[in-house]
């Protein structure tokens, strides 16, 4: 296992070492089952994982909330409408342009934004968009990074030289700066790579950008691990048996880097959601009128003194979601490899 290579704590007493090994690797239990056992013991990680699941479910139920409770869509303006609050009829948006705060009723439960749109509805739809972008971006990152990292590490030589230098170039740019540059450029004209076409306002544009910019952060550690694995005896044995490089990579190498990839997934999801929020806040992510937590915070900034709920509510959702993924992700990492330290350095 790869964790053997990372191990640091050796005991001088062989019997003690054997005892420790037996506790960590009881006989007859596979590594993933063992990890699940460890994860189940980590109550905090499970609690935050459950929090994340609840938030995801809430966001998935956005259409139900919109149609059955709020009776409005995420992009429907109610600027000149009025709503009953505490027996009084109130403007959704005042004549001076200040939107109504939380009513704690079905309609405008968390208030309205400056266009008179229901904040609660937009919050849930925004969450869907943020999570969708985060999930797709993570998928792109993991797939590209796994392919590039494995190929570079396995073949070494000029293949590694080219891939590693390209990754270095992407790595050299600050994520947000690169994301804003790509986001602004693609927001106007969209993305047209022949077969692969994206409209400028498609959610897949920020997902593709974020997925692309995080590739080096995952590909490099995978490459480093593959460089070590390719020298192991089981790989030599596979070569001797005449297996093709593709089969060796898929059947021998990949299963051994799987735990690293799994550990990276929650980290990349969290970072992707945060980056999406940052890009959307700067106008380079999710395009209006589609909501996302980032665009909602950006839209609410100018009204902070009079309608602070416009920034607080999406901000809080963002914090809870990231906290949920990160703490759960740490638990998964500890469960898979208690001695490894994986984090994304930016």
């Amino acid at each position: 296992m790869s964790s053997d290579a990372i191990g640091t704590g050796f005991s001088a007493d062989p019997s003690e070492l054997r005892a420790t090994h037996e506790v960590e690797h009881p006989a007859g239990i596979g590594p993933y089952r063992l990890a699940w056992r460890r994860l189940r013991r980590n109550r905090i990680a499970l609690a935050f994982g459950a929090l994340f699941v609840v938030l995801v479910l809430l966001c998935l139920l956005a259409p139900v909330y919109a149609s059955e409770i709020a009776h409005t869509g995420p992009n429907v303006n109610h600027i000149t409408d009025q709503v009953h609050v505490g027996g009084k009829l109130k403007d959704v948006v005042s004549l001076e342009g200040v939107p109504i705060g939380p009513t704690w009723h079905g309609r405008f439960f968390l208030g309205a934004d400056s266009n008179g749109r229901d904040v609660a509805v937009r919050l849930l739809y925004g969450g869907r968009n943020s999570l969708e972008v985060g999930a797709v971006a993570t998928l792109i990152t993991i797939i590209l990074a796994t392919i590039l990292g494995t190929v570079a590490g396995f073949f070494r030589g000029w293949v590694d030289g080219i891939i590693a230098r390209v990754l270095d170039v992407i790595w050299a740019y600050p994520v947000i700066l690169l994301g804003v540059a790509l986001g602004v450029a693609l927001a106007v004209g969209g993305l047209n790579l022949g077969v692969f076409k994206l409209q400028g306002n498609s959610l897949m544009v920020p997902a593709a950008i974020i997925g692309f910019v995080y590739v080096p952060y995952v590909a490099k550690p995978i490459r480093a691990q593959v460089l070590g694995l390719r020298e192991k005896e089981f790989v030599d044995a596979a070569r001797t048996q005449g297996l093709s490089p593709l089969r060796i990579m898929v059947e021998e190498i990949l299963p051994n880097v799987a735990s690293t990839i799994i550990v990276f997934v929650p980290l990349i999801v969290a970072n992707s959601i945060l980056t999406e929020a940052g890009l959307s806040y700067l106008g380079a992510g999710v395009q209006p009128p589609n909501p996302s937590w980032g665009t909602m915070i950006g839209d609410g900034i100018r009204l902070i003194p009079s309608a602070i709920h416009l920034t607080i509510v999406p901000g809080l959702m963002l914090v809870l979601t990231i906290l949920g993924i990160n703490v759960f992700g740490d638990g998964v990492r500890d469960a898979l490899d208690p001695r490894a330290k994986v984090r994304i350095e930016r």
Binding site: I79, E96, G97, V98, V188, N201, G283, D299, A307
Partner: protein, 534 residues
Amino acid sequence: MIAAGLLLAFSAVAFGKAHTSATPTINYVEGTAPDYLDPQLGYTTQAWEVHWLTNIGLYTYAHANGQAGTKLIPGIAKAQPHVSADGKTYTVQVRSGLKYSDGTPVKAEDFAYSIERAIKLGWGGKSFYTGYIVGADAFDKGKAKSISGIKTSGSTITIKLTTAYGAFENVLALPPSGFVPSGTAMKNLSSSPPPGFGPYKIDKVVPNKSFSVDLNPNYTPIAGVPKGKANISVKIAATTQTEAESVLNNSADVFDWGDQVPPSLLSQVKAKAASRYKLEPTISTFYFFMNTQTKPFNNQLAREAVNYAIDRRAISRLNGGNFIPTCWFLPDGMVGHTNAKCPYGDPNKAPQLAKAKALVKQAGLVGTPVTVWGQDRSPRKEFVDYYAGVLKSLGFKVTEKIISSAQYWATIGNAKTPNVQTGFADWNQDFPHPADFYFLAESKSIQPLNNENFSMIKDSYIDKTVARLGKYGGSKLSSVAGSWAKLEQYTAKKAYYANYGQQEVPLFTSSKIDFGKVIFTPVYGTDWSSLSVK
């Protein structure tokens, strides 16, 4: 002898200090710095509100509130120009004995030099010169060393035009037509602006942070242009929030009229500073353009539907209530503005959405893709969010494109940009003449780059009418007001635009300022020369 000299010097310094301290200083805050402090480059309200006081040209505007403030008065010129019968030759006499702020005498030759400098430096509105003055275009293209259409003889200036242009007197009153001494460097002098003739001079410039507009000791008052009463210290605020707060709590004196008091502070301002806050209309129009050359807005029914559907009261709320809802292109206060009944219903009442939907259906345009363009700047982004919602409710398949404010005009004005179908636009007058608005609707304004006729209007009636009425300017302008109003009704019926508002701006000062005496001109906003301390 030495002691006497020192005593004299000390007295002079002491007297000088006493004299300086007698002139009050007013603290002016702006959310946006002037684009240029060089008079031949400035092209924003923040620049022009300064330059019309520091660099007067042959003509200027009366320092008066309301309609009276649109009256052209002689500046460096002795009197109104003599215009030839064909409207192509202007003869102007220049006053004698005037001095620039640095003491240099003002000469008639400086006029041609100043215009050449504006062209050479590439002022954004240079087409006002190159499009009308004989030889100005050749000078711009480097084919001539000077503008052949401007001749100076003694104190007489003769200007020949390629075509009669009624608004040319207004062009002569533009701040970039303001005089600077011949020989002034042909480069951007914003960090150390050149001297000018006027009651004020620009001083102590810290780019994008602060500058001073101090009383000009060499100013010889001319009729209609009073001496100022205080030095003005201008600071650029980080946000309009801090800008408004500083005036509200009296730590600054004047809020720039080019900015809007944030909605979050508006109720406080109205409650605590009611005696020093009011709204003033600007000569501006805000509208959604609709590209008449492509589907769906090449169909008049679709354009009419938009005009019926938009709720102008709603957009006013998005603008903090600072809009006068309207459906006319020419704003109130501009010659040609009509008070006739709006063809699409009362703009102060609910829109006719059902009728609008029926029109789109009748035109067979339900489901047509429409791309809506807007700026990322608030509240303009909110206008477009709202507009996109309206178009969607009419049955169009809407895509919204919100781009950086800095890139917006160049992007939608570029013929190569795809799907520029509809979106946000506005116009603030360069000078009080309807031709300054209607050039946006002339077919000759359609250009491959920096196009301003966003609706791509090609209407021979508009072209001919603007060409005919455009010859009337100055005192003759009011004689054709009815014809402009008729054109206005024609344009509204064709629904080339969806006009929704005329902007109102805040006149807001600290309690230190004598608010009742502040003049707000429709051309350059707050008249700094009227600012005084109680």
